[in-house]
Symmetry: C2
Subunit: 280 residues, 2 copies
């Protein structure tokens, strides 16, 4: 499938990489980017990520067959609904937010008839931000979750799946709720644990932090600007995941307090079984 | 300083690397290794890590100017005290255990007169085990902590420092108690957090664990055999570190429960400041 026009609203690291991948793989004849940040827009244009750049999303989305919204999770739904009246009939709209429940519910409640929407979340990213760090292979062999609800048209799911497959990704379809519950454990909880662990290290011990500490806390370097809205939108699932983690830590604490070495070994074994099942 | 004879009791990854580094850097004319594991011993000899190999530590340590004990933390003190009567007068004995308080106290209480002992802990290692994975550069530019108590002779600290410096490491001297309190936070707590985090991931979510989860839980792949004795020997300090971590997680939980985004941002900021202060 080659589109005549692909529109990307938000040309940061993710949006820029969608643009780059689409151009390099011949997925769209023309890629148009919109961003409220003029610097990012200029960089995307100068870097050859997009053919055309506009400050106004309404202009960018006009006549595009597919529109991808790449913005902080607390801005996506409003951006989609504001751009929707300017989209061509039959256009597929999708997003790349790290939470899905709130975004999909708000969009599906307000989307005008004649447009298709399915939420997406590519499990790919980088500590780096902005279009200068965009990579055509960011989605290659990575997993993208596409959401389906009782209100999502089958065609929206099919076309969103085809979009990500064309950019090199594997796709899994699930409900927004299953996505949010799953990511609370696989992504949001590790972020929170890493931040908390780094936060208890006193400055005088920085020099003693070796590889193990550095790996375990790497996520603590992430930006609060990006994460606070993610935690806020997925509060219930994050709290449930945190509760499970706190219970597991309490099991460790009770085993240590009792000097129950068999129990400590068993708890470490539970972690090792899971970790060894993942590829490095 | 070139020794006539360096003895290594325990020729696994760490002991094998001490042997290899000492030979390659010309620190000792002859390196003799002892191990109760005949396979490891044969590998160390065949791999050129040691010049001579014996099953009996008493034989290996005879006439050595320096003896390094590399064994699980719960076996080190007994190994040192059993070998001590066979050591040459004036010999420096040291170890490489990840805990120091219990080991140093037991050794310093029982060491015969005429021998020197200072505890050591090289902050270097690998997930890999055994002499086949030994590396001559394992300690290059890494930090080694050497311990000093009121009973440690100044000469023992000086010679242990010279040993590690000769193998390429930087050395910091501190008390066993300061070492154990510090490592509880920088090493033992991250191990426990990684094990607990991996332990709460249900099998059906393994496929959704991306880079963030993998980095944060890498330590969960460590061996319980090695870690259970470390936790047991450093129980009080690990429990204190765990308590601080649990308090920080509880702060996150309360901030999320109250949907207090400023508090979540502040807690993430505390982690980011610490993490950004470490080099990657």
């Amino acid at each position: 499938m080659t589109l005549k026009k692909l529109a990307i609203v938000g040309v940061g690291l993710i949006g820029g990489s969608v643009a780059l991948a689409a151009r390099q793989r011949g997925f769209a004849a023309r890629v148009v980017g919109a961003d409220h940040d003029r610097v990012a827009l200029d960089q995307a244009l100068a870097g050859g990520l997009v053919d055309e750049a506009c400050l106004d999303p309404a202009e960018a989305v006009a006549s595009a067959e597919v529109v991808v919204f790449c913005a902080p999770v607390d801005r996506i739904a409003a951006l989609v609904l504001a751009a929707a009246p300017h989209c061509a009939p039959g256009a597929l709209l999708t997003d790349t937010g790290s939470t899905k429940g709130a975004i999909v519910a708000e969009v599906e409640s307000g989307l005008p008839a004649g447009l298709l929407f399915a939420g997406s979340h590519p499990l790919a990213g980088s500590e780096k931000k902005g279009p200068l760090h965009a990579r055509a292979d960011l989605f290659a062999d990575r997993l993208v979750i596409v959401t389906r609800t009782s209100r999502t048209p089958a065609e929206a799911v099919e076309r969103a799946t085809a979009l990500w497959a064309a950019l090199g990704a594997r796709v899994r379809v699930m409900s927004p709720e299953e996505h949010d519950r799953s990511l609370a454990l696989t992504s949001h909880l590790p972020q929170l644990a890493a931040s908390a662990l780094a936060g208890v290290l006193p400055a005088e011990l920085f020099g003693l932090a070796a590889t193990g500490f550095r790996d375990t806390t790497r996520l603590a370097g992430s930006n609060a600007d990006m994460w606070v809205p993610i935690f806020a939108q997925n509060r219930a699932a994050v709290l449930a995941a945190l509760e499970r983690f706190e219970e597991q830590l309490a099991c460790f604490r009770r085993a240590l307090e009792a000097d129950d070495r068999a129990a400590v070994a068993r708890l470490m074994g539970e972690g090792k079984r899971a970790r060894d099942a993942l590829s490095t």
